[in-house]
Every structure is written in structure tokens, then in C-alpha cells.
Subunit: 584 residues, 2 copies
């Protein structure tokens, strides 16, 4: 490509509403252009990146034996009603009425449509397994779109759906996709982790997220440097840091703690160890009677050691909360505990309050907790003596230094950006939609499904979050808009420069290098700044000074300070030697 | 590809609502699957065709110097309001409200968004010309979707938009796209015509349609076999078939024609030449006063020779009708002419009725027309003597045998399917949206635009309409889902057959042939029927009988009766010799 035949448009400043580096650089580099909140045009420079990501995904999906099709963006509501997602999905599902007033959605994902295809197409066990996939535009009407292409509303997703006879088969299909994802992100060249993850609203029972490591990530990953354990913090198992309960030594004492409404303050005020304090978190699950009329909410008290934090995903596994929960209101708290927040505890709560203690809290002795009376806390409290034994559950987030659940060391935390997700769905969709096949005995069986997504456009943003410096983007070679840029000095004025640049350009192109020749005739500083911002990984500068010695200058975007002079006639071989794709 | 690793699903019968051959075959061949009215999933077999069409388009767009980007599907209403299309587009424009109650549309086309990109990006004449294009999903909420993928609601379109400094430059850009379209449809291998076309609601002043010739086409094309003249019948210029007006010989006479309400009946009843009769067509344009309150409609009388038909596009050029028109109601007719329909004519109409005569009608002498009195017609009527000279305009459809407007012969008619369209837009979008550039003198000038569309998914349907027989589809090689199918007999039972088939498959793949090996082990009749329906252009059958002589059997889908036995070791070379893509 020659720059003049392409469209390059860079900006000195990012718009004020660009809230992360990737968004700022993509806008400044002329890769995306905002059309509406969370809706972007991919400009020519940005589209090249997206197409390269899609290309790698396509190759690996095909290699894994998945079959590409293309499902529509506009989907009839009836299918979404069959699975109950029409009601459950909430306002992120963009609903439309067509001219005949029929309900449709713009797909945020395609489980319903692909299951509809399967129930029509798959009749016999002989047709299984099969994995249908597509790359298609998705829309999720985020309340607050942000982070550029990473949490936009319109985006491109690769979604695949596997269909199997039984759970064992589905496990094989799952593993194939897991392996394909490992290859995809390895080929893209990003530092990533496959982490165990919560299955969330989509249902199913087994799930991994593929997280690109980046400080700007929204997710926190717990991993063990001494093993291959890695999990989203939502899921990472937290054990008791006490490893069992000691003996009670103190006696229960009610002490005045006027105005001390937080564990930090109480421990300081009373002069007791912060780690001897228990934090009370009050949750509420709304209920209705058989007629659908509201009943008072079920109140659940969660006990955590003062330094630990509630894990809301784990709290969702509390039986009373499994259909959804919220934090209790001050009014509900007063009714259930007889005190305002800040002085709450498990002793003397209303009888119908369900009490759950995190594993560490449950191992505590002689602890301090609220006395359910404004201005008072208990000290020296002990389970089984001063109050009943609580129900024990893992309810907190892991912290750095926690034991790894596999027993092989301690956990560390890092932030990540979720770019891929593999799910085992089981019959979550096939049962309500009656997608069955006839087994060897001619009996109908529900199809076992899995679903596998990659946020194509999000990968571009995540790559930038991981790979950039203060000059701009540093693309991994595999998804860079161009692999090599040739920057000629005085292209239109120096015959020699022009001849050398044109010849090198043609030779590299002939070798299959994705090269751009900057024939825009700009001042060197401006030209270099453009390409450093755009992030092309390899740069060749051609100028009269170097050509006097028969040389051109090579620099790697990752280390621009180190420049290498290369004999003009060796330039093609040299560039190829620097390109990963030519490595044996 | 091996058939077992792919997904093949054929049907014996098409669903009852499939109304054209292409739709029936695409459904039966497992290429598309209906999700909702006018909304289809492209199954794996169909998607391969679409991707090949897209590939050819992409190569030729790049060759023509156009730059690919990707504009969003969901577009904010504000832009559509700027150009007035929010109001004008009608119910085909699918309008949506997001969760914040803001108005959006699902794009039926991208003029607004691309002009918005241009007005932000293009500052100087130095950046022009440029041509931005994308392949993207479109949605048009057709009242009655039909003809499968040819008039669906959700479809894939390639749309390109050129930006130039002046009309001369825009003409060059237009020609480049015209030439690219010629190459695209030639490469696809379809019989097509580039025809002059009406510019319709999209605006602009110069336009060609690319029509694939097929009997099932919705459009009628007038062309001259002796020259390169070709135009959509909507636009094809009709001259006077009389070539001037003769002398009046008869006198005006009012004659009773009781119950004779059509020219055919009147001419028979009165015993006069049918071609001496004039047909009166009454049109009405609704009007409002300055406050927007309805006024009585403006009534226009169009006079046509009895054998000619009104061309509504041309009627739209009548000054009184340029903002839209309809046929007049019986009530309006009675008020304007004093008679019910069937006896209308230009003599004695209400004074405010505007009268326009088609060029042939205007050349008529001694003609017969309604007397504006029930049961009566005039004969021997003459313009200028019995009534004022009418305003003359080309208002009729051409018919076979009409003189070609270029004077080089006579016209023929054939039906076509519009698959591409090139438009010169001028400043239709750039002016209301204030997309300007600074010229050499630093003065802002509106950008001159063109737009260029290809209905990607429609091309697939049109190709089938043109190329099929009673067994199924006959794909042009360039867009066939596979170029070659290998059909082994007893693949799993005959060692020799399997060995030969596998080897030939691998060899053809290595040569870059897009080949599928049918390893499904089906009965020959069923297997052949599948591939004849699917329409793969070249077939190799491998069976024990042929292998005894060291031979395999080749057949061309276009002529299955003619089978050629080929030595096994020559099979690769033979197949390559039959593939157009290997032709020098």
C-alpha cells in the first residue's frame, strides 16, 4: 500500500471523553471515529487490524473443525421468549418493532437462533457433533458505554456453538474450543491467561475466560505463579486463612462504641486487633406470594472478617439469594436488627434472618461485632457459645497471599480484559427450545450445547492496553495494520531516495510482507510521529545521507532508540529476518 | 473440504412460500434458512457463495483505488434528519429507540454516515478524490418481502461513496466505479447489462443500473442489439412513432358509445382504427396551503395513444407532479371532467386541468377520445383546431420495435435483476450536511459525491435465476460453493476407491482447487442429486468399474449427459484444464 492511495488521518489530541489509552490512541491514530455513544466507524487503518484478528480466528476455527455460517442481526422476539431471555435480559437487549408492529431484537448473541437452526437441522446422532460459528455484528445497549471499542454498544463478536450427544462429547467440544482459543491468542501475540470463570446469566456449569493482562482491565484475576491455577476473582476459591478455629479465651462483653460505625474505628477505639473484628453485610432478596404480590424481603446476614470483601457472585450461591439479591435498605435493617447500620451483628438479630459466615469469619474466636444497638459492640464473642454456629460458605474475594486452591503455593492478583469466553451450556437452551436428536435406539434426547465467544473488536482495544508507550501503539506483528513502514526522506525531491524506496517497497510486497510506503512527502518528525502513534512494528528510513554509504536505517517500534544501518541490497532479507511470520 | 467435516443438508421439497426458483433452490440446497419474513440465516453452503462474491468485489474495489472502512449498522437519527431522509424515507426505514429513548435507525444505506465522516476528515482539496466503501449488513423493512434473498429485509450490500472537488472529478470517479462494476460482474461470470436508470428518491442526476438478465427479473430493460444503448424501461426514451403530425382530414364528431369504456371497445364499436384512439389517464397531486391545511388536489390529464402505457417515472417529471402524485379518484374525475371514467378526454375539461400529451399522442390527427359525457366519444379530433395544442412530453414506456434513441436501430426488451447501481449524487448530501473542503484559494466548496452499491446477497439469487435447470443450480465457477466435487462410490468399502479419491482430493487441494470430497457414503443416486441441486460446476466420479481401466469419470454440471473417462494419473491436469481460473 502507498500512503497516498490509503487514508491516513491522525490527531494531536484525543477528545476529552476518551477514557482509556486504547480509545485515545485509536481515535488519534485515525482507526476509529465515534458516531454515537458506544458506536464507532472503523476507519481504514482500524479495519485492517480487525480483519487481521478475524483472519486468525477464522483459520483456527476452521482448523478446529467448526463450520462457519452467518446468522441474522435482526431476530424475532418469539425465539427469545421461548428461552425466557426476552423477559430476563433487561434493557441491554435492544428491542424493535417492525412496520407490522412485530417484536424483534438486535442480537447481543445468537444462542436462540443457532438452537433454532439445530432443532430444524439435526435429526440423528449421526449428525453430531457439530460446531456452528459466525463473525457478526452485535449490539448491547449498555447503560454507560465506555472504554472505546472495549465496552461499546455495537461491536463485532465471533460466536461459536457446539452440539453434542452427551456431556462427555460436549466436554471434548469444549476442550477443542479451549485449545483453539489458546492458539488464537498465542498467535495474536498477547500475554493472556485462561481463567476459570463464573457462568453468569447465560447459564451452564463450566466456563473459562480468556483474559488479556493489562492494568486497565475491568476484571481481577487470581493466579498461582507456582501452578497453572488461574481464576476470575469472582470465582477464585478462598479458604479460611485461619485453617481452623482455636479455643475461646475471652468472655462476651458489651462495650460502648459511640459514633464508631466501621471496623477500623471500633478496633482503634477499643484497642483491639482489627483482624479480630467481624463485618456484617446485610443482603435482601425480594419475594412475592403466589398471586405475585410483594412480600417483605428475605433478609440475609453475611459475616466477613474485617479485612475481607464480599464476593457478590459467591453470595449469589446462598440458597435464599439464588434468584437475585440486593443490599438491604436502612429501613429493612432497622426492622431486622433493631439498630441502624454500623452496629450490626449476629447476636440478637430477628429470628428469621438467615446468617452465613465466610470460612475465615467462621474460624474466628473472641471476635468483636456489632451489638445491634446504636453505640455498642460486643467483644470476646464466640460461635457456639454466645450465638449459634453459623452456616459456613466461601463468600469473600481472595486476596494476594491466600493459599492457592490447588495447594501449590499462594495467589497473586492481576488485572485483565476479558476477550474470550468458553461455556458449557448443557441443555440450558436445547431443553426449552426442544432441540433434540434421535439416539441409536431412536429415542429423542436433548442436545448438549456449548458456546464460545471472542470480542473481535475488543481484542484490538485490549492489545493496545497491553502494548503501548507514550508515543502510541505498539502492535503485535500479527494484527498490526501494516507490518513494515518505509519512510523516505524527500521522496519527491531525491531521485535516489525515491528509486530505493520504490524498489524496496516492491521487493517486500513481492515477498508477501504487508508494507506501506509513506509517499506523502511530510517532514520527518511529523511522519515518524504518525507511524509511532499508529504503531507499525518495523520501520525503514531511507535518506540521502544513508544512501551515500549504500545503507538504510531499520528500527523496531518496541525500541526506537536502537537504530540499525542495513546495506540497501540486504534490506529485504534483514526485514524478513525481523518478522516473526517468516521464522521457521 | 470433506463433506463429513462440513454441513450438508438438502431437502426434496421447497417450502410452499418460496416464490421464485432461486429461493426454492437455495432452501432445498441448504444454503439459506428462513428466520423471519425476509430474514435468512446463511448456512455454511450458502455462506461460501456470499464470501466468494465479496472476495471478487473486494479485489476490484481495491484495484479501483477505493478505501475500505466499516460504518455501523445502528445510526443516530440526527444525521438522517439533517438530510431530510428521516421524514422522507417512509416505513422501509427501521427506526429504533435506545434505552435512553434516543432515536436510531438500522441503516438501509450509509450516505449520511459517510458524509459525516467526510465533513470531519476532509479539509483540503489535497485530500480529494477519495472513495470510501464497505460491505455491511443492511435492513429495509419491506412491506412484503419476497423472492428470497433478492428482496429480503436484512441483506448484505457493498456500498461505496466517492468524494471529489468538482463535477469533472466526480465524473472520473463515477467512470472508475462503472468500470470496476463491469469487471466485477464479468468476473462473476453472469450475463448482464449496464443500463441507464432513473435516479429515484436518492437524488442526483446520473445513474446506471447493472442488471443480470433473467426472466424472473422485476425490471424491464430496453436495449438496442445494434448499438450499446441499454436503459431501464423507467428511463428509456420513447420517441414519437409517427415522426411528426400529418394533416387533419376529418371533422370533429360526437358519437354515442353506450357502455364502451375502453379504447378497444370503442374502436370496435365505432369501427375505427385502434391506433387512432387516445387514452386519457388522470393523475392528482395533493396540495396544502401555507398553514399545511389540505387544498383540492391538482388534476393532470395525460394523453397516450391507445396501445401505449403510462411511464410513472416520466410522469413524475411533469412540473405539477414533481413532489409526488397518485391516480385521481372517481370523485375528483367527476368534478374535473363532468363524467365518470371511460368517457374522458381533453375537450371540455375543467380549465384548471393541466393537459400533457405523450410525443406520439401529440402527433396524432383525426383521433378518437372521450367526450367527457357518459356514453359519448369524439372522433376526428385534432389538436390546434378542436382543442388547444397540448404540452408535449415523453410519458410512455418504450415497446419492442421503437426506434433506439441513439438512432442506430430498434429496441428490444428483456427482463433483468438489478444487482448494482452507480449514482452521481452531486451535492445532494454534502450541501445539507455542510461537507465542504477548502479549494486552492482557501474558499470552502461543497464536495461532489457519488454512490455505488452492489447487493451482495442478491447477486447469489440473480445468478441462480440466470443459471439453473430442473435438477438445481448451475453456479458460475467463480462463486460456486466448491469448484469441484469428488463422488467416490463405496468410499468406505472399496480400498481402491478410497485411496484414489483421497489422493485426487489432496492433489487438487495442493493445486489450489476448491474441492469437496463426498465421504458421506451415500447411494450414488442420492449423492448425485445432492450435488446437482447444490450446483457444483465440475464432478469427478470414482468407482471400481472405472478404476479397473485406471479411469475416473468427469462431468460438467452444465452438461451432465456428456461424461468423459479420464486416466487417473491425468485427472488433476484434466480438472485444471476445465477450470476457468487456470486459463491463461
Amino acid at each position: 500500500m502507498r500512503a497516498r492511495s490509503f487514508f491516513i488521518s491522525t490527531l494531536k489530541e484525543a477528545p476529552a471523553d476518551a477514557d482509556v489509552v486504547s480509545q485515545q490512541y485509536m481515535i488519534r491514530a485515525g482507526m476509529i471515529k465515534k458516531l454515537a455513544a458506544g458506536v464507532y466507524t472503523y476507519m481504514p487503518m482500524g479495519l485492517r487490524v480487525i480483519r487481521k484478528i478475524e483472519g486468525i480466528i477464522r483459520e483456527e476455527m476452521n482448523r478446529a473443525g467448526a463450520v462457519e455460517l452467518l446468522m441474522p442481526i435482526v431476530q424475532p422476539a418469539e425465539l427469545w421468549m421461548e428461552t425466557g431471555r426476552w423477559e430476563k435480559y433487561g434493557p441491554e437487549l435492544l428491542r424493535i418493532k417492525d412496520r407490522h408492529d412485530r417484536d424483534f431484537v438486535i442480537q447481543p448473541t445468537s444462542e436462540e437462533v443457532v438452537t433454532d437452526v439445530a432443532r430444524q437441522e439435526i435429526k440423528s446422532w449421526r449428525q453430531l457433533p457439530v460446531n456452528f460459528w459466525h463473525i457478526q455484528t452485535k449490539f448491547r445497549d449498555e447503560r454507560r458505554p465506555r472504554f472505546g471499542v472495549m465496552r461499546g454498544r455495537e461491536f463485532t463478536m465471533k460466536d461459536a456453538y457446539s452440539f453434542d450427544r452427551d456431556e462427555a462429547g460436549a466436554g471434548v467440544s469444549y476442550q477443542k474450543m479451549y485449545d483453539a482459543y489458546q492458539r488464537i491468542f498465542s498467535r495474536i501475540g498477547l500475554l493472556f491467561r485462561a481463567v476459570r470463570a463464573d457462568t453468569g446469566a447465560i447459564g451452564g456449569s463450566r466456563s473459562h475466560e480468556f483474559q488479556v493482562i493489562a492494568n486497565a482491565g475491568e476484571d481481577v484475576i487470581a493466579y498461582c505463579p507456582d501452578s497453572d491455577y488461574a481464576a476470575n476473582i469472582e470465582l477464585a476459591e478462598a479458604q479460611s486463612v485461619l485453617g481452623g478455629r482455636g479455643e475461646a479465651k475471652e468472655t462476651l462483653e458489651k462495650r460502648a462504641t459511640p459514633g464508631q460505625e466501621k471496623c477500623e474505628l471500633v478496633s482503634e477505639y477499643l484497642g483491639i486487633d482489627f483482624l479480630k473484628c467481624i463485618k456484617s453485610v446485610v443482603l435482601a432478596a425480594d419475594r412475592t406470594n403466589e398471586k405475585g404480590e410483594p412480600l417483605p424481603a428475605k433478609i440475609v446476614l453475611v459475616l466477613l472478617r474485617a479485612d475481607h470483601e464480599l464476593n457478590e457472585v459467591k453470595a449469589g450461591h446462598i440458597p435464599e439469594l439464588k434468584d437475585g439479591f440486593r443490599f438491604a435498605t436502612d429501613e429493612e435493617i432497622l426492622a431486622a436488627f433493631g439498630s441502624k447500620p454500623g452496629y450490626l451483628g449476629p447476636i440478637g438479630a430477628r429470628e428469621d434472618v438467615a446468617i452465613y459466615a465466610d470460612l475465615t469469619a467462621a474460624d474466628m474466636t473472641d471476635f468483636c461485632c456489632g451489638a445491634n444497638e446504636e453505640g455498642y459492640h460486643y467483644t470476646g464473642a464466640n460461635f457456639g457459645r454466645d450465638l449459634p454456629e453459623p452456616v459456613k460458605m466461601d463468600l469473600r474475594n481472595v486476596v494476594e497471599g491466600d493459599a492457592s486452591p490447588d495447594g501449590k503455593g499462594t495467589l497473586k492478583l492481576q488485572r485483565g480484559i476479558e476477550v474470550g469466553h468458553v461455556f458449557f451450556l448443557g441443555t440450558r437452551y436445547s431443553e426449552p427450545m426442544q432441540a433434540t436428536f434421535l439416539d441409536e435406539n431412536g429415542k429423542p434426547q436433548p442436545i448438549q450445547m456449548g458456546c464460545y465467544g471472542i470480542g473481535v473488536t475488543r481484542v484490538a482495544g485490549a492489545a493496545i492496553e497491553q502494548c503501548h508507550d507514550d508515543k502510541g501503539i505498539i502492535w503485535p506483528e500479527s494484527i498490526a495494520p501494516f507490518e513494515v513502514v518505509i519512510c523516505p526522506m524527500n521522496y519527491s525531491k531525491s531521485e535516489e531516495v525515491k528509486k530505493t524506496a520504490d524498489a524496496l517497497y516492491e521487493s517486500l510486497k513481492a515477498e508477501g510482507v504487508d508494507v506501506i510506503l509513506d509517499d506523502r512527502d511530510m517532514r520527518p518528525g511529523v511522519m515518524f510521529a504518525d507511524w509511532e502513534l499508529i504503531g507499525v512494528p518495523h520501520r525503514i528510513v531511507i535518506g540521502d545521507r544513508g544512501l551515500k554509504n549504500g545503507e538504510v536505517e531499520y528500527a523496531d517500534r518496541r525500541n526506537l532508540a536502537e537504530k540499525t544501518m542495513v546495506k540497501t541490497e540486504e534490506a529485504v532479507a534483514f526485514v524478513k529476518s525481523r518478522l516473526k511470520k517468516f521464522a521457521a
